[in-house]
Amino acid sequence: MENTKRLVLSSAPHLHEGASIKRDMYIVILALLFPTAGAVYFFGAYVLLMLATALLCAILTEYVAKWMRKRPFYMDGSAIVTAILFVLVMPPRTPLWIVAVGSIFCIAVAKEMFGGLGQNIFNPALAGRAFASLSFAGALTRWIGPVASFMADGVTTATPLSESFATALSRGELYRALFFGNVAGSVGETSALLILIGGVILLAFGLIKWQVPVFYIGTVALLSFLLGQDPLFQILAGGLMLGAFFMATDYVTSPLTTGGKIIFAVGAGVLVVLIRTWGSMPEGVCYSILLMNAFTPLIDRYVRPKLYGYVKRTNKEEAS
């Protein structure tokens, strides 16, 4: 090095693992491709229109929001994840204008108004879903069964969690249908298998903790068993699988520590059973996670990692 060489000064560490938000988000998108592909297979090409609408609206909204907030727009993939998740939790024949309004809400209200990625308290996709189902209740109760062909129109039917459904099939057929996804339900919630594949991808890349889905699903299974319900049915039906692997594991809106995450998961599991059993709605996953999102700051305040060399101090010592 010649003596006049201009050197760059930076703060340690000068070596990095190479992790990036973008990489994480694209892995999540990869994992989401499985339930998404299943959704297109089960509910037809209309799902693609929903996805296109949601993606376009979400990304444009983020761009405009960043411009209004005078922040740099950066394509980190988080808007894509939100848009896909939002479509996956909507009914299969949701009118496109509702998809548009909902995904704009996800980004503009649930995320950017709170300060953008990392600052939002509620999971944006679920907040959008809650907003849409409260605002457009009538339009969103038309559930269809899986379609016979790619371009076909669906037939309105009951979802597994509504009472009229459960008796129609034998147990084994029912479980099989629920596991592979051949039932009515939200776009991406029906196939437990495809969600599990996505979940395994997230686990393999170390993006989520196994404790979250295990404690969430485990709590629902245990409680429903104690209440005399069919635990397997409770696990496979509705949005629990998708919620447990993709929503309750959201970094931003769930607790920081593993202990906190377990509290979150158990709390959400209890809420699901409470809502499904005694609530006025057939499904409780969305609200269970949103409610626990609200508890996240509180959990983070009290559940902290074990400090190296922690010494318990008496009040007297602290005062001195």
Binding site: H16, A19, P305, L307
Partner: protein
């Protein structure tokens, strides 16, 4: 169950990271660097009070002659590292802080004339004499922390010290200086250890080496078996996990104990000494030789990475030239390892007692994003802290709350920032936070 399995199962936090080893100079035997024509010796090369110059411009000095005396108890003297003439006492940039400090500049007469050294048999010296010799030789912790060694060897009487841990972990990527020293100067290290065990009157010592250095482990084990000690000495292979070499991590790994918050290893009855420090202690006692040189790993984007035995005050640029020069693409110069090392602003910066490595690299300017609360920094923090909270609180300028999250416990190892997907320079925020908290006067 072993701890790695527990980590893999997600049952315990990894509390550390696994950066690539990149020990480029591991096969290079220690070589003596060319004697520099000029040396720049900053008078603050250690933790504690700066040394006070005792020479003036125009003085003739010999190698090993004291040019600055200790500025207090927690301070050490500094010695001339070449023979020649004191060219000037000037303000120079500190390689530690980058701030201006007083320094002595010596111009070589090309002779390498040493002062008369007074060898001694350690057995014939009292504890006090040994400690005085160590202090007089200007020895500090050579693992990079540069804490005066005589202070570590003079624990207050109420602390009972029962063991010595020899730190040969060398957990930072790239650095091979200690590894080579353990392979080539094994006996000197053990002589130093024996002296330290005697001074502290302990009967137990552990030599901790990361398991990725099997040759050093074997060599040290062999030598320990042959030597006789005033107690039991074992060589322990510790997991290769950064920051294994940090004192507190090492204490936990070797003794299974945690140093109480705000305390020192002596609070759990142990004293840690780096292998290079022990070799320096051996020289100071048996040869009467002051600390004037050390092994520096010159590595990264240089022609041939090497382990050079170099005099303090030698410029980084001349050592880099000895290794075949730097790659033209390199634009960053780090003293120390890549995880905790300090970026230098000038290629002529002199090496000092704590400089175990000169790393030449290409800068990688990273755009910082907002925290997504992934929690990886919490997972990897060896101290059980929540690094992201420090970033949040410093951004909000809520410095008082930093104490609630025990910011003072942070050892600035950088494990958090190493794996941060938002590329937040977390350590930099923490340093700011510590300074602001101190300013706010909150303890």
């Amino acid at each position: 169950m072993n701890s790695q399995l527990l980590v893999r199962l997600g049952l315990v936090r990894p509390a550390g990271v696994h950066p690539p080893a990149r020990k480029l100079a591991a096969e290079q035997a220690i070589e003596r660097a060319q004697l520099p024509k000029t040396v720049i010796l900053p008078l603050q090369q250690h933790i504690g009070a700066p040394a006070k110059a005792v020479v003036k411009r125009g003085d003739e000095v010999k190698v090993g002659q004291m040019i600055a005396e200790a500025g207090g108890f927690v301070s050490v003297p500094i010695h001339a590292t070449i023979s020649g003439i004191v060219k000037q006492l000037a303000t120079v940039a500190s390689p530690i802080t980058g701030q201006p400090v007083l320094g002595v500049i010596i111009e070589s007469d090309g002779k390498d004339d040493w002062i008369d050294l007074t060898p001694a048999d350690p057995e014939g010296l009292s504890t006090e004499e040994i400690i005085n010799r160590i202090k007089g030789a200007g020895i500090v912790g050579m693992g990079g922390a540069t804490f005066p060694t005589h202070v570590k060897l003079s624990p207050p009487p109420e602390k009972s010290i029962t063991s010595v841990i020899v730190n040969g972990a060398e957990c930072e990527p790239y650095i091979t200086a200690d590894d080579r020293l353990m392979l080539e100067e094994t006996d000197r290290i053990l002589i130093g250890l024996k002296i330290v065990m005697r001074v502290l009157s302990v009967e137990r010592a552990y030599v901790a080496i990361e398991e990725n250095k099997p040759r050093a482990i074997a060599r040290m084990r062999q030598a320990v078996e042959k030597a006789s000690f005033p107690g039991t000495v074992t060589v322990e292979a510790v997991p290769a996990k950064y920051p294994m070499g940090a004192e507190k991590t090492l204490v936990k790994s070797i003794l299974g104990l945690e140093v109480p918050e705000g305390g020192l290893p002596m609070d759990v009855g142990t004293v840690i000494q780096n292998v290079a420090t022990l070799a320096a202690v051996a020289d100071a006692i048996t040869l009467g030789k002051p600390l004037v040189e050390r092994v520096v790993t010159v590595t990264g984007l240089v022609g041939t990475p090497k382990n050079l035995l170099a005099r303090f005050g030698t410029s980084a640029s001349s050592l880099i030239e000895e290794c075949g020069g730097a790659d033209p693409s390199a634009d960053e110069l780090i003293f120390g390892g890549p995880m905790m090392g300090i970026a230098q602003s000038h290629v002529a910066t002199p090496i000092i007692k704590g400089t175990n490595c000169i790393l030449v690299k290409m800068s990688d300017v990273r755009e910082e994003h907002d925290c997504i609360r992934c929690g990886r920094c919490i997972e990897t923090c060896p101290m059980g802290l929540m690094p992201l909270m420090f970033v949040n609180l410093v951004k909000k300028e809520d410095y008082e709350s930093l104490a609630d999250y025990h910011i003072a416990n942070c050892v600035e190892c950088g494990a958090c920032a190493y794996g941060c997907p938002a590329k937040i320079p977390i350590v930099s925020y923490i340093k700011t936070g510590k300074v602001e908290l101190r300013k706010a006067g909150v303890k």
